[in-house]
C-alpha cells in the first residue's frame, strides 16, 4: 500500500501522467498517475491518503526543486498535469465530503492583464497541496473577486500580475477587497511584484513562486 503511494508520489513529482505518455523517458511504458490512482482506489486506499500521502508529497517535492532552481517551468507544469489526473479520480470524494480540503483559495490575474502562466502554476501547486482552488481566470475585475469572496466565506485570495502596468490594478483590487472584506487575507505574486510592493498596497503576503504561496496558505489556515 505504501509502495503504491510512493510510486504515485513519484509520478506526480516527475510528471508521469499515464502509461501512454512518453515523458519522463525513464518511466516510459510504466503506469502513470492515472493508472496508479485507479489501482489505489481499487485496493481500498483512502482518497484522503491518496491526496495527502502521494499527491501533496509529489507536488511539494517538485515545488521545492523549482524554488531551488533544480527544475524549471516545464517540469513544474507537467507535474501539475499529473496531479490534475489524480484529482480527476478524487473529485467525487471532494464532492461527497470524504476528503476535506484545507481551505479555499480564490485566484485570478488582475484586470487588464491577460497572462496566465504564473497564475496557472500557482493554481496547480496549491491544489496539489490540498486546497480547493477557484480560478477566476485572467483579466478579472474587482467585482468578480468580491463576488467570489462573498460566495466562499473564509477564502484566501491570490492576485497575479505579469505587467508593471497592471500592478496598479492589483492595488485597486486589494483596496476594494480590504474595504468590503477586511478579514480576507490576500497574497500577491507575479514577475514584477515584490514584497515591498505587497506591503505598500496592503496585501497580507507576497510570494515569488508557488511554494511560497503554499507556505503562506498553510500558515493562514492554521
Amino acid at each position: 500500500m505504501t509502495e503504491l503511494l510512493e510510486r504515485l508520489a513519484l509520478c506526480v513529482e516527475m510528471g508521469k501522467i499515464d502509461k501512454a505518455t512518453p515523458y519522463p523517458p525513464e518511466l516510459a511504458g510504466q503506469d502513470g498517475a492515472d493508472e496508479l490512482t485507479k489501482q489505489a482506489l481499487d485496493k481500498g486506499i483512502s482518497p484522503d491518503d491518496i491526496l495527502h500521502k502521494a499527491c501533496v508529497i509529489g507536488m511539494h517535492s517538485i515545488g521545492e526543486k523549482f524554488q531551488r532552481n533544480e527544475v524549471f517551468v516545464p517540469q513544474l507544469l507537467i507535474a501539475a498535469k499529473a496531479m490534475t489526473c489524480v484529482m480527476y479520480h478524487l473529485k467525487p470524494f471532494f464532492v461527497s465530503g470524504q476528503i476535506k480540503t484545507k481551505g479555499t483559495f480564490v485566484i485570478g490575474t488582475v484586470s487588464g492583464d491577460l497572462h496566465d502562466i504564473g497564475k496557472n502554476i500557482v493554481c496547480m501547486v496549491v491544489e496539489g497541496a490540498g486546497f480547493k482552488v477557484i480560478d477566476l481566470g485572467i483579466d478579472v475585475p474587482e467585482s468578480a473577486f468580491l463576488d467570489a469572496i462573498h460566495g466562499n466565506e473564509g477564502c484566501i485570495v491570490g492576485l497575479s500580475a505579469l505587467l508593471t502596468t497592471t500592478m496598479v490594478n492589483m492595488e485597486q483590487t486589494v483596496n476594494a477587497i480590504k474595504k468590503q472584506y477586511p478579514q480576507t487575507k490576500v497574497i500577491i505574486g507575479g514577475a514584477p511584484v515584490t514584497g515591498d510592493f505587497a506591503q505598500q498596497i496592503g496585501a497580507d503576503g507576497y510570494s515569488h513562486g508557488p511554494q511560497g504561496a503554499v507556505e503562506f496558505l498553510n500558515k493562514a489556515v492554521v
Binding site: 524549471f72 516545464p74 517540469q75 507537467i78 496566465d116 502562466i117 508593471t164 514584477p192
Partner: protein, 340 residues
Amino acid sequence: MTDNQWDNLIKIVNGTRLDPLPAGFIIDCPWLPNWFGINILDYFTNDDLWFSANLKATEIFPGVMFFPGFWSEYGMCSEPSAFGAKCSFPENQFPHADKCIHSLKDIDRIRKPKAGVDGLSPFLLNRLKLNRKRMEESGHKIRFSVSRGHLNVASYLMGTTELMTGLLTDHGQIHKLLRIITDYLIEWHDVQQKTFPSIDGILILDDLVGFIGEEEFKQFGLPYLKELYDRDVSIKLFHNDADCRSSVKYLPEIGINIFNMAFNTSLNELKELTGNKVTMLGNIPPRDVLARGTPADITKAVRDMIAALEDPSRIIVSCGGGMSPGVTTENINAFIQGIT
C-alpha cells in the same frame, strides 16, 4: 539613433570605454505613448503621433541611446498576427494576440507566413517607409531589424502552458512549430534589412528563454537563436528580462554582443558568465527604482551600480528590462545625473 551614437555603440561593443559611461534604454509602447501624453491606440494608429513621440524622446534626452529607436511595433501582436492570431487593441491597454493553436496536432496546419505581406508586417514596414525621410532629416536612421524570438512567438500562438509542457512531451511537434516560426522570422528580418539598407543591427526579444532549464534551452533555444542571429550586422542585441541563468553563458556562442537582462543578476556576474564578450545593457530595477523611486534614489542607485563594476568596459547603463510605464522625465534626468 544618430550616426555618432551608432559609432559609439560599435566602439563600446568592441571594448572601448567611454567616459562617462553611456546611457541607453529599450523604449516602446508600454512607456512611450503615456509619457508623450497620448493613449496607446493613438500611438499605434497615427503616424504623426508615433513619430512625434519618438522624436521628442530623442530631443529631451539627446545623450541617451534609444533601442531600437523609432520602433514600429504593435506590441505582442506584431508577429503572431502574421500566423492568423486574433489581435485585440483595447484603447489604452497593450494589444493582445489570442492563441490559434489549440492542440499539438493543430501545428500540422501552420504554414510559414509571407514576411512583409501577412498580418501586421506590411503596416510595420510601411510606417517606417513613410516616416523615413523625416526621421533622417532629424538626424536619425533606422538601425535595427526587430522581432520577438521564436519561443515568445510560439507561446502566443499556442499558449505558454501548452508550449512549456510540449517541450517535454512532444519534441517533434514543437520542433516543427519552432522551425516554421524561425524560418518566418529570418525572412522577416531579411525583408526589413532589404527595405532599409541603413539597418546594421538586429534586436530580438524573448523572455520565454528564461522559463526553461539549460537542457531545454540547448535543444529548443540555442540552435534557433544561432540561426536568427546569423546575420552580417554589427550589433546583435538580445532582450530577456526573465531568468537568464540557463542561457547567459551561451550568448557569445550565439553571436549576441549586447544583452538587456533582468535586474536581479549583477553586471559583474553576467560579465564573468559571458567572458566579458557581451556588452551589458542594464540593470537598475525598472519599476521599483526608475519608475517609483525618488530622483535621489535613482541617482544613488545608478552611482552605486557604476561604483560596484569591476570592469566598466562593455557597459551601457540602463534598467534591467525595457523602460517601465510611468517613468517620468524627472526620473530619467536623475538617472543620467547618476552617470555624469
